[in-house]
Symmetry: none
DNA sequence: CAATATTATGCAAATATTTGCAAACAAACA
DNA sequence: TGTTTGTTTGCAAATATTTGCATAATATTG
């Protein structure tokens, strides 16, 4: 402890280093105290508070008055929401929210964009969410009015989701109002395609069992294509990107009967 | 207890921590006494009273005159349970390991004891694990040679697992070599019983579809009983506790044909 | 019913958090 | 090099929460 103190006192410390030390401390003691950290890391309590807020947003700990305590017993890896805070995804998430109404049944596939949407849902909203994504279920743990059905199957250690025969069979037992579909690529002619065969099959099953499909894609993925076919472009009802829907590039999708947001 | 006292007396304590300790105590003793807590946690009785009211509002306990008792037959939150009895759970985990051989198919239910076992598995072991526990699947993410099937169903926000019709149906599609069953209570006459109805049903389904059943229980749960029946005591093959298997109290189980470890 | 113990409420002091702001600093670019 | 842009950090005022105490209300017991 003294070593840590000396080290921190003498040498300059990167912000990332500080965050790491906070996470380490939480892992060790199950808690951190704001003032202690402030002294230990030689920064103001304001900074520590902001750090804790940041880590809390990522789901790595739980901010409480005066410090922070350990979050859920779910592995941090499942909760890492590092890549979802990008500006683009926030914009898409905001746009998607207006389609989601209390009481609906949502089917949500695994991906950083859909995870971003889920993490921006209002805390008290009442919904039924069906998903095969572990990060999404870890977020929804804290939503008291959301009933969550998790779709079982074989764990896919790369996408943090389940895939395979059991997953697809399980999906077919549901019927959702809206499918929120984070997609790899979409092209008017080729349709929606994906990078992972198993996930493509899951996406297809989700589409088939949902009344309305809302596809989520960053602008750069438009017109691209990947190895595995999911569905035709006009199988979707709404396409949300981070750009202005009146952009010329998007006209083709509109003509195909897809609502652009 | 003395340690707790000293700790609390010396070091500053977050409010959130205090609330956790109250819930832990409830989980352990089924009750808390207001004045005791006040002394133990070094705050006024008013504060404890407000704490109890807060927890009672959340449904984690039931406020009664002079303290609080265990609330509904809902388990305290997993988070608050995970630190209880850790030493015992480590011992049980070590004993359980000798039954697990490479190549086996394991069916594992949700609970802190089974989670402890999984986290002590050797990193390179090759297994197939079927589970409905989110903490367990999050641990197994890092095991390259373990194939994981996750059993879907409705998310149970208290136990971090899935339960319900879909879960039970999905379990019936598997056939496991070994079922690792963390249990609430076991009594020779009454059998194995549980606190949560849904989880009891899941446990039963797991038992029915496994060749060998290894039940895991801390010693204090022996001879106890809970509201929901799971199975007869002799339905299990092995019972592991943290105590020496030659203890007199355990003789009855041996006579019933259960191997004690 | 009276005596006693327990709980609820209002209040004020201490403490923590939020918010806006400005200085310091770093990265990108002409 | 200088300028711009964005991030990080500390400060301070406004706000909110927590806590213990005093007091009133309520429940328990004989």
């Amino acid at each position: 402890m003294l070593q840590l103190l000396i080290c921190c006192y003498i040498c300059f410390m990167l912000k990332a280093e500080r965050l790491q030390k906070i996470v380490e401390q939480i892992a060790k003691d199950n808690k951190v105290i704001l003032d202690d950290l402030s002294q230990l890391l030689n920064v103001s309590t304001d900074t520590i508070r902001r750090d804790i807020k940041e880590l809390s947003d990522k789901g790595l700990l739980k901010a409480v008055r005066g410090g922070a305590i350990i979050g859920s017993p779910v592995h941090p890896h499942f909760k890492e929401r590092q890549n979802i805070d990008t500006q683009h995804k926030k914009v898409i998430a905001q746009k998607a929210l207006e389609f989601i109404k209390p009481g609906q049944v949502l089917l949500i596939n695994a991906g950083t964009t859909t995870t971003a949407i889920v993490s921006t849902l209002p805390k008290e909203i009442a919904l039924t969410v069906i998903t095969n994504s572990f990060p999404i279920v870890s977020i929804l743990e804290d939503y008291p009015n959301i009933t969550v059905f998790f779709i079982g199957g074989q764990l896919n250690k790369h996408s943090f989701s389940t895939t395979g025969y059991e997953t697809i069979e399980a999906i077919r037992n549901f019927r959702a109002d809206i499918c929120l579909l984070g997609i790899c690529s979409i092209d008017l002619k080729v349709g929606i395609t994906g990078f992972d065969h198993q996930e493509s099959l899951v996406d297809r099953a989700m589409i088939e069992t949902s009344k309305h499909i809302i596809a989520l894609s960053t602008y750069e993925k438009l017109g691209a294509s990947d190895p595995y076919y999911v569905c035709a472009a006009n199988a979707i009802d709404v396409l949300i990107t981070e750009k202005d829907p009146s952009l010329a590039d998007l006209a083709g999708f509109k003509d195909a009967g897809i609502m652009i947001k």
